[in-house]
C-alpha cells in the first residue's frame, strides 16, 4: 500500500557494507592461494587433460556467473527497468569480477607457450590427432582456418577485453552516479546498453564455441552459443539471489529489498535458468537425435556411456524437472528460505551442467562397433571422474575468489544505487 510505506533507513549501517572488506580479502587470498598451489601441482598431474578440463570447468563456472550478472545489468538498462534498481548494486558487484577473471585464462596461454595446448584441445596438434583417429583429423584439418592456436588466442583476448570493458562501463557509471547524482550516467548507460547486448551475445557465443565446443573439434551444434548463454543466466540470476538474501540476513538493506523483488528474481531464474535451459537443451538434443548423423550423435553417445548416463539423468532432473516443479509456485519464490534453497540448487546445477559439457570425451573407436548396445557394454565402466580431487579443489578455490572479490567490491562501492532516478519506483515496487 503506497500510503503506508514505512520510512526507509538510508543510514550507512544499512546501505554501506564496510565490514565486508576484511572477510572478503581473507576469502580472496585463501582462494588465490588454493588456485596457485593447485596449478603448480596440476602441472605435475598424470592426466594433464583432466586437470586442464577441470580448470576450464571451474573457471567458466565463476565466469558464467559474472556474465549472467552482466547480462542482468544490460537488460536492466535496455528496458529502462524500474523494479530492479535496489538489486542492481549486488549484480554490479558480481559483474565487476570480470575485471580480474581473465587471469583464469592464463594457464591456457602458459600451455600454449609450452606448445602443449593439445592436452585439452585436440585440434591444437593435428599430427597427434591423426595418430589416434585419421578420420577425425581429416575433418578437423578442414576447420584449421578458424581452429588454429594463434587465432584462438587472439579471439580469447578479444572476448576477455570486451568483458572487462563492458563491466567497467556498467559498474563505473553507476558508481560515479552515487557521488554526483547526474542523470547523464543513466542516459549513457541506456544508450549503450543496446550495442553492449550485441557485443555480449557475440562474445559469449564464440567463447562457447572456442572453449567448450572445440574440445570435441569434429562435433558442432548451432545451438551451442545459446546453451552457454542460458548457463550464464542460470548461474548469474541464482547468484544475484544468493548475494541479496545473504546481505539481508547479515542485516543490510533492511526494508529496501522486499518480497516483491525476490519474487521477480525467482521469476527470472525460473524462466531463464529452468524453462529456457530445458527448451534449448532439448532443442539441441532432438535435432541431433532425429538427424542421426554419426559425427553429431557421438557427442551425446559420450554422455550415455558408463557413469555419464547417470550424469545425464541427474542433469535432466536437477536442472529442469525438480526445479520446475519447485519454483512454479508463487510462494516458493516469495519466501526467503525456499528461494535461497532454489538459488543454491540452481548455482550447483549450472556447475554440474558445465561438468557435463566439458568433461566427457568421445571414444575414438566408436566406428568399430555395430550397435549402440555394444558400445554401452564395452564402455560400461567409463568413469566420470566426478570425485577427482581437482573437481572440488578448483571449485572451492574459484568460488572463494568470486565470493571474496564480490564482498570486497560491495564494501567499496556501497550496497545501493542511492542516486538512481528510478530508486523510488523500485522501493515502492509491487507485483500485481
Amino acid at each position: 500500500m503506497s500510503e503506508s510505506a514505512p520510512a526507509i533507513n538510508f543510514s550507512p549501517s544499512n546501505i554501506r557494507g564496510d565490514a565486508l572488506s576484511t572477510p572478503g580479502t581473507a576469502l580472496r587470498i585463501l582462494g588465490f592461494a588454493i588456485l596457485v598451489i593447485a596449478f603448480v601441482m596440476g602441472m605435475r598431474a598424470q592426466d594433464q587433460g583432466l586437470f586442464l578440463r577441470t580448470w576450464m570447468q571451474a573457471w567458466l563456472f565463476v565466469t558464467t556467473i559474472s556474465l549472467g550478472a552482466l547480462f542482468f545489468l544490460i537488460v536492466h538498462h535496455i528496458t529502462h527497468a524500474g523494479w530492479s534498481v535496489v538489486v542492481r548494486r549486488p549484480a554490479e558487484a558480481i559483474a565487476a569480477n570480470l575485471q580480474w577473471l581473465w587471469i583464469g585464462f592464463l594457464p591456457f596461454v602458459f600451455y600454449w607457450w609450452k606448445g602443449e595446448l593439445d592436452f585439452i584441445f585436440p585440434w591444437a596438434n593435428l599430427d597427434a590427432l591423426k595418430q589416434i583417429s585419421a578420420a577425425e583429423a581429416e575433418l578437423v584439418a578442414k576447420k584449421s582456418a578458424f581452429l588454429n592456436d594463434k587465432f584462438f588466442m587472439i579471439r580469447a583476448g578479444v572476448y576477455l577485453v570486451t568483458w572487462v570493458v563492458l563491466a567497467r562501463f556498467f559498474v563505473g557509471n553507476s558508481v560515479a552516479q552515487d557521488s554526483d547524482g547526474s542523470m547523464t550516467h543513466t542516459k549513457k548507460l541506456e544508450k549503450w546498453a543496446g550495442p553492449a547486448a550485441i557485443l555480449f551475445g557475440l562474445t559469449t557465443s564464440f567463447a562457447a564455441f572456442d572453449w567448450i565446443m572445440s574440445l570435441n573439434p569434429a562435433w558442432f551444434s548451432t545451438m551451442f552459443g545459446v546453451y552457454f548463454f542460458v548457463g550464464c543466466c542460470t548461474g548469474g540470476f541464482a547468484y544475484i539471489g544468493i548475494v541479496c538474501l545473504r546481505l539481508q540476513a547479515l542485516g543490510y538493506l533492511k526494508g529496501i529489498i522486499t518480497t516483491e523483488h525476490y519474487q521477480d528474481i525467482g521469476k527470472l531464474l525460473f524462466a531463464f535458468g529452468v524453462v529456457f535451459w530445458a527448451y534449448i537443451a532439448f532443442s539441441q538434443y532432438m535435432l541431433i537425435w532425429y538427424g542421426n548423423i554419426p559425427e553429431e550423435t557421438a557427442w551425446f553417445l559420450a554422455r550415455q556411456i558408463g557413469e555419464w548416463r547417470w550424469v545425464s539423468v541427474v542433469l535432466l532432473f536437477g536442472h529442469f524437472i525438480l526445479p520446475f516443479l519447485f519454483l512454479i509456485s508463487r510462494w516458493t519464490k516469495r519466501w526467503r528460505g525456499t528461494l535461497l534453497f532454489a538459488c543454491v540448487w540452481m548455482v550447483a546445477a549450472q556447475w554440474f551442467d558445465l561438468f557435463y559439457l566439458i568433461q566427457p570425451k568421445i571414444p575414438h573407436d566408436i566406428g568399430v562397433y555395430d550397435t549402440y548396445e555394444q558400445i554401452l557394454a564395452h564402455y560400461s565402466n567409463e568413469s566420470a571422474h566426478f570425485f577427482s580431487p581437482w573437481n572440488w579443489v578448483l571449485l572451492v578455490g574459484f568460488m572463494l575468489m568470486l565470493t571474496g572479490s564480490t564482498m570486497r567490491r560491495l564494501s567499496s562501492m556501497g550496497l545501493l544505487c542511492i542516486k538512481d532516478p528510478r530508486l523510488n519506483e523500485s522501493l515502492r515496487f509491487e507485483n500485481m
Binding site: M1, S2, W289, Y290, N292, I328
Partner: protein
C-alpha cells in the same frame, strides 16, 4: 438524484410501480486513498456483492477489499498437464497403436515407422506435447478468466450512468449491489455518505 429515500426516490414514487429495478448504489470518490479507506470499511461492514471501479490498477486494493487470490493458476496448471497427456495419447495412438476407437467416427491407429525410430519415441513426441500444453493453458487461462468475471456480456447497468463515465479518467467508485443480503437502500446510502463519498447515487438495473 442524490437525496434519496424509499419514499421520495424517483424510482419509487407513491404507489406507482417502478419501471426499473434497482441495481445498486454507487459512491463516487476523487482519489484512490479515499477509495481504499472506504473499501476497507465496506469490507468490514460485511457486504459481499460489491465492487470497486478505478481508472488504473490501485496497489493494495485487493487486500482492502478482502479479495482472495484466484485459483486460476492451479486450474491452468491442470489444463497444461491435460494438454501434455492428450498430446502424448494422440501421437501414441495415431502413430503406434493398431486398435480402433470411437471418436464421433471410428478411427484406427496406424503403426508407422519413421526413420527407424521406435514407434513410441518420446523425443519426437515432446514438441507436440509441449505445444498442446501451451495451447490448453492459454485457452483455459483466458476462458476461465472470462467465466470467473461473468464475461462476455452485452451491457452493464453502470455503463448507462452519466457520472460513471469518468471512471476511465479521474473518478473512483464503490458500487454496492441491491442483491447483497445486507443491502437496504436508505441505510446503505447513508453508510456510503458517511464514508466520505463525494456523491452517492442509485443505479437502475
Amino acid at each position: 438524484m442524490t437525496t434519496l429515500s424509499p419514499t421520495t426516490s424517483p424510482l419509487i414514487q407513491g404507489n406507482q410501480i417502478p419501471r426499473k429495478r434497482l441495481y445498486g448504489i454507487m459512491a463516487e470518490f476523487h482519489d484512490p486513498a479515499a477509495l481504499m479507506a472506504a473499501a476497507d470499511k465496506v469490507r468490514l461492514a460485511g457486504f459481499r456483492w460489491w465492487d470497486c471501479h478505478t481508472p488504473f490498477p490501485v496497489h493494495g486494493l485487493d487486500q482492502a477489499m478482502g479479495i482472495k487470490r484466484t485459483i486460476l493458476p492451479v486450474l491452468v496448471f491442470g489444463a497444461g498437464l491435460t494438454g501434455t497427456t492428450i498430446g502424448f495419447c494422440l501421437q501414441a495412438f495415431t502413430n503406434a497403436a493398431s486398435f480402433s476407437i470411437w471418436a464421433l467416427v471410428w478411427v484406427t491407429g496406424y503403426p508407422f515407422l519413421i526413420s527407424g525410430k521406435p514407434l513410441i519415441s518420446l523425443p519426437a513426441f515432446i514438441p507436440v506435447m509441449f505445444e498442446l500444453a501451451i495451447l490448453l493453458s492459454a485457452l483455459s487461462a483466458v476462458g476461465i478468466m472470462f467465466l470467473f468475471n461473468g464475461l462476455p456480456r452485452w451491457n452493464h447497468p453502470l455503463l448507462s450512468n452519466k457520472r460513471f463515465l469518468r471512471v476511465t479518467d479521474d473518478r473512483f467508485f464503490i458500487v454496492i449491489e441491491s442483491r447483497d443480503p445486507r443491502f437496504f437502500a436508505s441505510r446503505t446510502e447513508q453508510f456510503l455518505k458517511d464514508l466520505g463519498a463525494k456523491t452517492v447515487e442509485m443505479v437502475e438495473a
